[in-house]
Subunit: 337 residues, 2 copies
DNA sequence: TATACTCATGATAACGATGCCGGAAAGGGT
DNA sequence: ACCCTTTCCGGCATCGTTATCATGAGTATA
């Protein structure tokens, strides 16, 4: 690792003080025209780059965002891309840490980023996370924090999220409109907001349509294709099997699709299916799967923008909330009219 | 942003010098037992965390790895996971930057990371990258650099890659074994190593089997489903159309599959198809797509390990190369015997 | 009793940069 | 000739930590 040229090197070579060199480089006012030129020329020649570490130590700001996410599936990768784009533009670098849906990893990551002095955090919690002390700690240290996608109600921080209740509603209503009567729900982990909100939309819609809720038709499982498949198989062997499935994520929906295919039932004739996320995969399956779009890229950009706003303004933004409206894309798996 | 407690605070409170406090906290030998206890107790109470910035400035090391990748598709996300895992274990944090397959972005990212003082780089180049000055600059500054997946021949740096020639061979040989005679190649961008190597394997295998190479059957296109689809449509309208397609990535293979389906040809009867990467999607398509597995997670881990080795040893490792052997997973799209 | 040696601690410089203050030289006005 | 203002630059402190050297007290040794 080669020694970087420093301001001192330039100062020494030009028989100037470091202060003067520093001023010259920053185009500060009180520097002679000639010295300024000389300094800049030499800096160019020696390929001088200011040491960000020294600056960060002095200014107490690192221009770095700590981003903690549960995984890197389609939706999150897309959100990360959105965050990255806005952050880069504003001169921030993003440190991405995957918790891998593990509470322990999330804590380790938070701790690490916290004392490696990121300027703030953007977080989407793992599905295991039910205790939020690590997140409160961020706030105790008065670091900016923005929650996105999987948000937490008990934490007062600005958030960017989808109107998941609405998402649950439009998916369920669509299935009802297509004539399905017994609609099952493949839900996610029980402690996850997004899952419960989508379920809330499902329940509301059933009630509005005077359809009785059958709790046996609601199954909680991890966001994982295999679980989706297993859960669906279970549903399909019930004596009074559902005639439609609303899966809270496309992964689960794909698992469901595979399970349904194995039993020989026809989609959408015998059974309807709607997923969530509008993962490009849904367009590639046979049959193609209807799904709820959540505008991940835009959500990512909005999240980063709020973060930057929070960094730059001193006003309290903890009740700021941006809610995206979901949109259903109807495909073969639920079109039987 | 709250002021962090520093060593000075503790020193002041305990009427000690910062030196002593520093020693006590690091369990250095020559500190009195009582003072050590007192210091540690107070540190605990005030939730003291050493300032990493100050340490980094002093030690000239940030425990940070700059990771530059073209995108976050399945393979790369998996590799990143592998890298992350090993890095975290070793106390390093990874800064992931996506070049988004853009040469310009790649340069900006490199520059940024370079002067934000990461300890070294792990890079997989964008498909546009044909000039490597930015990468040479990293080496000029004597920062550790490891290339992976999409490597560059003209740069002397340790690398972790797949035996792509072999990958091209096994895919092509498999198609020949299945009785396909006119095998087309959906190649990637012309300047990309991985693409050319896979093509090399394809060409070798054709020759070995005394099959004449028809250049019209080789099409270069970006790694993108749409391009794969367009290219395939073109291939299928030839007067002497191919009876099999070897796509250099699963995205292209999926595009090909869609194009083939639209023309009404039967897979694998009328036309065979093999992809590359073994993306989980290939298992979900109808028909399922044969594909070459590249062990992305293991490659990621190996890459990070080499990086760490490079950081810790002072010996030249620039000719170190780890080559993974690919494995073909045969599925419906190419099984007609 | 003087010498040497250990043990615990303090003082200082350094990492690379900035910000504030002060001062020399030059010029202008009265 | 005096004072005042600019213009340009150097010195010093600072950010939080560690490393190196110095110092002081106390103890063992000859």
């Amino acid at each position: 690792m080669e020694r970087q040229t420093t301001i001192k090197d330039i100062a020494l070579a030009l028989r100037l003080s470091t202060s003067t060199v520093s001023r010259a480089l920053r185009d500060a006012p009180d520097v002679g025209e000639e010295t300024r030129k000389a300094v800049k020329a030499l800096a160019e020649e020696l390929d001088y780059q200011p040491n960000k570490l020294a600056l960060s130590l002095l200014k107490k700001q690192t221009n770095t965002i700590g981003l903690i996410i549960p995984n890197l599936d389609y939706v999150l990768a897309t959100m990360v891309k959105g965050i990255d784009e806005v952050a880069l533009e504003a001169g921030y670098t993003v440190m991405v840490c995957q918790s891998d849906e593990s509470f322990g990893r999330e804590i380790v990551n938070t701790k690490r980023l916290l004392d490696s002095l990121v300027d703030g955090f953007i977080i989407s919690v793992s599905s295991e996370t039910m205790i939020f002390e690590h997140i409160k700690k961020i706030q105790q240290k008065k670091k900016p924090l923005v929650l996105f996608d999987r948000t937490i109600n008990s934490i007062a921080a600005p958030r960017v999220r989808l109107d998941n209740v609405e998402g649950g509603r439009i998916a369920t209503q669509h299935l009802i409109d297509q004539g399905y009567k017994r609609i099952a729900l493949l839900a996610g982990p029980e402690n996850l907001n997004i899952s419960n909100e989508r379920m809330e939309g499902y329940l509301q819609t059933l009630k509005q349509n005077k359809i009785k809720v059958d709790k046996n038709l609601i199954i909680h499982c991890d966001f994982n294709q295999e679980y989706g498949k297993m859960a669906t198989k279970e549903l399909l062997t019930m004596k009074n099997r559902p005639d439609a499935i609303f899966a809270i994520s496309d992964r689960l929906a794909i698992g469901a699709l595979l399970a349904i295919k194995e039993t020989g039932l026809k989609i959408p004739k015998d059974i309807g299916l709607v997923g969530f996320n509008n993962d490009p995969m849904t367009k590639l399956m046979t049959p193609t799967i209807s799904s709820v779009e959540m505008f991940a890229f835009e959500m990512g950009k909005a999240t980063a923008k709020i973060f930057l706003e929070m960094i730059h303004s001193e006003t309290d933004m903890s009740d700021k909330e941006i809610i995206f409206k979901p949109k259903l894309f109807v495909r073969e798996s639920s079109s039987r009219i």
